[in-house]
C-alpha cells in the first residue's frame, strides 16, 4: 500500500486539493475573504493540465452559481466556494439548482454579517444554509466540518450525497476552519470521469446533447400547471424525508451519562470539546453533541437524549441563536434549551461556554 500523504495545510487550500483528487470537473468562483485561497490554490495547481478539471474566475457570485447550474445540468461534478455575502448573491441560483434537482457543491466559509459585516469567522448563516436562503420549499444538504481534515473529507462526502440525491450540497465552514493550518491526510488521486462515463451515468436527466436513442432531456425548475408543480414539490419533500432518515451524521462526545449536553457545530464544536473536558474535570457530567450534517439535522438523536433525562441543552453558536431553534424543536419541551453565542466575528473560549452553561442551566 502506498504511504499516506500527510501535509500541513490551510482549510481553504485543502478544499482545492480534495476537489482535484476527488475528480471534480469544474470550479467556478469569485474572490471573497476569507476563502480566496480556494481558487488561488486551484489556479496554482493547474488541474486542467493534469486531471482536466476546469477552473474559472467568474465576474460575480451570481455568475459562478449559474455556471454551476450549466455544468451540473450536463452531469458534471462542479463546485464553487464563497463567503457569506457571496452566498447571499447565490441564493437565487441555489433555489434553481434545488428546483431543477442538480447535484453540485457549494462551500460557504462564513464571516460575520449582516451586510458587509466583518471578515472574521461567524456562524450567522445557519438559517440561510439550512432553511433555504433562496425562495421556495427546498433544502440543501449541509455539512459542517470542524477541522482541516473534515474540510478535506467533506468534499468527497458532499459530492457523493449531492449525486445520490441529485441535490446541491453545501459545506458550511467558517473563517476559522478556512484559515487554520492543520495536519491533513490527503486522499489518493481518483481518475476524473470521462465524458462517456458522465453521460452514461446522467443519461436519464442531463442535457449534454441528445443521442438518437433517447428522448430529449430538459433541465428546468418550471412547471406552470399548479397540479403538476405540487406533485414536483411533494416528490422533493419525499426526497428530503429520505435524507432525514438516511443521512444524518453527528458526533457524540461524552453523551452517554451526560446530565447536560452542549450542541455545537464546526469551529464552535471544536471549542466546546474543550469545555466538556473542563466540565468533566470539575465532576460535571457534560457532553457534546456535534451535528455534522446541519441538514438533515440530528433531531432524533437530540430527542433521544432529552427522553433519556438530560437536564438541559446549551446550543453554543457564533451567532445570536439560530441552531437553538432546531434543538428546541427536537427537545420539544422535555428540558430547558438555552443559547450562548458571540457575534460579529468574535469567538468564545471554552471557559466562557462553561460559565454560560452553569449560569443558564446548572445553577437553576
Amino acid at each position: 500500500m502506498a504511504e499516506k500523504e500527510v501535509k500541513l495545510m490551510k482549510g481553504n487550500e485543502v478544499i482545492a486539493h480534495a476537489a482535484i483528487r476527488y475528480g471534480c470537473d469544474g470550479y467556478f468562483g469569485y474572490p471573497i475573504t476569507p476563502q480566496s485561497e480556494v481558487m488561488e490554490t486551484l489556479m496554482e495547481l493547474k488541474p486542467w493540465e493534469t486531471t482536466g478539471m476546469v477552473v474559472l474566475q467568474a465576474e460575480s457570485e451570481v455568475s459562478s452559481i449559474n455556471m454551476l447550474y450549466g455544468g451540473a445540468a450536463t452531469g458534471k461534478r462542479v463546485m464553487t466556494s464563497s463567503s457569506s455575502p457571496g452566498i447571499s448573491l447565490m441564493s437565487e441560483g441555489l433555489s434553481y439548482l434545488a428546483g431543477a434537482e442538480l447535484p453540485c457543491l457549494i462551500i460557504n466559509c462564513q464571516r460575520g454579517g449582516p451586510g458587509l459585516g466583518t471578515i472574521q469567522p461567524s456562524q450567522g448563516d445557519y438559517f440561510q444554509a439550512t432553511k433555504g436562503g433562496g425562495h421556495g420549499d427546498y433544502h440543501l444538504i449541509v455539512l459542517a466540518p470542524n477541522s482541516v481534515q473534515e474540510m478535506h473529507d467533506h468534499v468527497a462526502e458532499a459530492f457523493d450525497l449531492a449525486f445520490k440525491y441529485r441535490n446541491p450540497a453545501m459545506i458550511l465552514a467558517d473563517g476559522a476552519i478556512g484559515q487554520m493550518m492543520e495536519k491533513v491526510v490527503l486522499a489518493p488521486q481518483r481518475p476524473r470521469k470521462t465524458d462517456e462515463e458522465t453521460r452514461a451515468e446522467a443519461r436519464a436527466w442531463a442535457a449534454y446533447g441528445k443521442p438518437a436513442d433517447r428522448e430529449r432531456n430538459i433541465v428546468t425548475s418550471l412547471e406552470l400547471q399548479s397540479e403538476k408543480m405540487e406533485i414536483i414539490n411533494q416528490r422533493l419533500q419525499e426526497k428530503y424525508r429520505t435524507m432525514e432518515e438516511m443521512e444524518v451524521r453527528y458526533e457524540a462526545i461524552e453523551c452517554d451519562d451526560a446530565e447536560y449536553v452542549i450542541v455545537a457545530f464546526g469551529s464552535s464544536a471544536r471549542i466546546c470539546s474543550a469545555t466538556v473536558e473542563m466540565a468533566r474535570a470539575e465532576g460535571l457530567r457534560v457532553g457534546l453533541l456535534r451535528p455534522i450534517t446541519l441538514y438533515p439535522f440530528p433531531k432524533k438523536q437530540i430527542a433521544e437524549l432529552a427522553a433519556r433525562g438530560v437536564k438541559g441543552f446549551l446550543s453554543a453558536e457564533l451567532n445570536a441563536g439560530q441552531m437553538v431553534e432546531d434543538v428546541r424543536l427536537a427537545v420539544n419541551g422535555k428540558a430547558p434549551v438555552e443559547h450562548y453565542g458571540r457575534q460579529g466575528g468574535m469567538l468564545f473560549n471554552p471557559d466562557e461556554v462553561l460559565a454560560a452553561l452553569k449560569e443558564k442551566l446548572i445553577k437553576k
Binding site: 469544474g26 451570481v62 455544468g71 450536463t74 442535457a207 449534454y208 446533447g209 441528445k210 430529449r216 430538459i218
Partner: protein
C-alpha cells in the same frame, strides 16, 4: 395545365425535421416561431442534433424547449450565458447556444452577457430584440424606443424619466472575445434567409473555437405593440430598423497565436 403533384420530390419547403409537433404557445405572427425554425434547420444542416445544448431564458421563449428536439436547460432570468459558459467549457465538443430576449440578455443579464462575450466563450447567443417585455404584459425594455408606449411608459418612453435605449450588440463589438456580432430580422422572407445564414455562420464559428457570437434578431411583439402581425412587421421596418440597423457589426478571426 396539370396540377402540381403533392409528392416528396416536388417538396421545396416543409416544417424542419427537428421542430416538434407541439403547437406553439406564441401569439399569432410572433417572430419567435420563425427564429426557432431557423435554429432547428441550422442544427440539422450542420449535423449537430446529437451534440447541441440549448439554453432557454425567462420570458415568452422560456418554453423554447418544447419546440426543438434537442437537449435543453432552462436558465434563471438573465443568467443564460453564465450557464452556457460552464456547459461549453466542460463539454467543449458540444454546440452550446442561448436563446434570450432583450429583457433577459440586455437588462437583468447584462453582466453575465457582457462577460461571457469578453471572455470569448465559444457559444452563440440568439438575442430577440422586440423592444418590449412580452411575457409580463408589455412593459418597457432597455431597448424600447424613445416615445414608444408600453405598460410602464404609458405616455411614451421619455429619456428624462426612463433613460435612453441602448444597443448591446454594438457594445459587445468592442470586446476582443466577441468575434461575430450581427443584427438580423425575420420580418420578410429575404430577411429570414439572411438571418438563417447568420445563425449558421455563428454556429460554425462556435464549433471552430472562434469565440463569442451574438445574433441579434430585431423582432416584433405584435401583442405588446398592440398591432396586427402584418402591421407590426411594417412598424418594425419603419421604426425599429432606423435605430437598430441590420447587418454584420463585427466579423473577425481570433488571433491563432493567442
Amino acid at each position: 395545365m396539370a396540377e402540381v403533384e403533392i409528392k416528396a420530390e416536388n417538396r421545396v419547403y416543409a416544417k424542419p425535421r427537428l421542430m416538434l409537433d407541439n403547437t406553439m404557445h406564441y401569439c399569432p405572427g410572433c417572430s419567435h416561431g420563425t427564429v426557432h425554425k431557423l435554429i432547428a434547420e441550422v442544427i440539422d444542416e450542420l449535423g449537430l442534433a446529437d451534440r447541441t445544448i440549448g439554453i432557454s431564458p425567462v420570458g415568452c421563449s422560456v418554453f423554447a424547449y418544447n419546440y426543438i428536439d434537442i437537449d435543453w436547460m432552462e436558465a434563471a432570468h438573465g443568467r443564460a450565458l453564465a450557464v452556457a459558459t460552464a456547459a461549453k467549457r466542460l463539454n467543449p465538443d458540444r454546440m452550446v447556444f442561448t436563446y434570450q430576449g432583450d429583457g433577459d440578455l440586455s437588462a437583468i443579464g447584462t453582466a453575465e452577457s457582457i462577460h461571457a462575450a469578453a471572455r470569448g466563450e465559444n457559444v452563440v447567443a440568439i438575442y430577440i430584440n422586440n423592444a418590449i417585455y412580452g411575457m409580463t404584459g408589455g412593459q418597457m425594455a432597455p431597448t424600447t424606443l424613445l416615445g414608444m408606449k408600453t405598460a410602464t411608459t404609458p405616455y411614451g418612453r421619455d429619456p428624462r424619466l426612463n433613460g435612453y435605449p441602448y444597443k448591446i450588440a454594438e457594445m459587445m463589438a468592442h470586446l476582443d472575445g466577441a468575434t461575430y456580432i450581427t443584427r438580423q430580422s425575420v420580418h420578410k422572407p429575404a430577411n429570414v434567409r439572411k438571418c438563417k445564414a447568420a445563425i449558421k455562420k455563428a454556429f460554425q464559428h462556435a464549433m471552430d473555437g472562434q469565440g463569442f457570437s451574438l445574433v441579434e434578431v430585431v423582432s416584433t411583439c405584435n401583442s405588446g405593440w398592440k398591432l396586427s402581425p402584418v402591421a407590426a412587421n411594417e412598424w418594425l421596418e419603419q421604426h425599429m430598423l432606423p435605430y437598430y440597423p441590420l447587418g454584420d457589426i463585427k466579423d473577425v478571426k481570433l488571433d491563432p497565436t493567442r
